[in-house]
Amino acid sequence: MSRFRSAPRSVIRRLDRRISLLVAVALLAACSRGPSLQDLLASRIQALSQTSELGTVEYTVRKAVRARDEGEWFKIGNRRILFTCTAYLKAGIHLDRIPLDRIVVDEESRSVAMVLPHATVLTINIPPEEIRLEYEDVTGFRQKFSDRERQALLRQGERDIVRDLPTLGILDEAEANAEEFFRSMLEQMGFENIQIVFE
């Protein structure tokens, strides 16, 4: 009987020591501080730069980002989500890439010949207020799409828009508009014969 009674006492003593050790560790952990949010807010990077871009066309495009998740075989239920977004694409030419030494002016005949660089896409702007969550459906025991998952889908949508750029014809339109822009400006300056070539 006595042996039977003494065994739990030793166990309780051992447990007592362990619990007091755990409490001490927890108190120490609570006292030490990690980086505060204020510290994180201070870590900002800023940079000002000089550019020289002439945007000549803006395309407004619409894209639907649609995803479904039927999950692993052991998960019960499906998830579906649909976003729509609007993107504004600007294309034009880099003015600092115009070879100024290749501008030929003849004042007598009021003619000018110049070479312009080929057009490039200058900006892709997907305003957050124009990203709409149109539909979300979660069935069974599945959880809603997390912040990270939603963001990953939108990132994929942006990458798809970039991938589709060559098929949109934006660069041809940008070059045509750039030529017209320069032609009209040179006419305002009094030039009559204007030759513009893209290289």
Binding site: R44, L48, L54, T60, K63, R66, L100, V112, F181
Partner: protein, 221 residues
């Protein structure tokens, strides 16, 4: 005579059962592993959708300065539970519950040349006089690939609201850092170089009086 047959029959039965079991096991393994059939290979699937051009607009924007900034945005949970979770000891176990995103944004500034009128160009001999429209913020850009979710949970609409705040701050920081002055100076310099190459000895570029910044419009996007 029939006695020695029984163990043979039972052995045969066991063998058949074992074969059936092995066949079922193999079928199960194939069902799980076979590509396309298995549900585990079906994960998150993103459908391919078309990019539809809605509008094509002719513009004439001379962007002459850019501003880049990385910032950390925190949306604090101000509920009683949020305050409680901010207590150091509790925070260590439950997390603060604050929503934090790290984003990088770009601001473009320059001139909208479509605002120029024919009278803004005047030539007299070797002198060209050009009056430029006021310098303005052309774009404030934070795209989905420009921000990273760091911690916490918010709905899509709440996240959009937070990024809009980030855009406002980005725009204010850019103006404070002098993006408009930089745009004015570098825009004038690059146009002067271009016009001088067209044969003008003297190029006078006059800047229009700066108007207050528009809160909306293309610059507000």
């Amino acid at each position: 005579m029939s006695k020695p047959r029984q163990p043979r029959e039972s052995r045969l039965r066991r063998l058949v059962l074992l074969l059936v079991f092995l066949l079922c096991l193999a079928a199960g393994v194939i069902w799980v592993i076979w590509p396309g059939r298995t549900r585990s290979s079906r994960g998150l699937q993103i459908d391919k959708t078309a990019t539809v051009v809605e509008q094509v607009r002719r513009i004439g924007e001379l962007s002459s300065a850019g501003f880049y900034e990385e910032l950390v945005l925190t949306d604090r949970d101000n509920s009683y539970l949020g305050e409680l979770r901010r207590v150091d000891g509790i925070r260590r176990f439950t997390g603060s519950g604050d929503f934090v995103i790290i984003c990088k944004g770009r601001v473009r500034a320059g001139f909208d040349l479509t605002k120029m009128k024919p009278s803004d160009f005047s030539v007299s001999g070797d002198t060209l006089r050009v009056t430029l429209p006021p310098v303005e913020v052309l774009d404030v850009i934070i795209n989905p690939t420009d921000y990273e979710h760091f911690s916490g949970h918010r709905t899509h609409e709440e996240t959009v609201g937070i990024i809009l705040q980030a855009k406002q701050r980005l725009r204010a920081d850019a103006v404070q850092a002098g993006v408009l002055d930089q745009a004015e100076a570098s825009g004038v310099a690059s146009l002067q170089r271009l016009f001088t190459s067209l044969g003008y000895r003297e190029v006078d570029i006059i800047l229009s009086k700066q108007l207050p910044l528009r809160p909306g419009g293309s610059a507000g996007r």
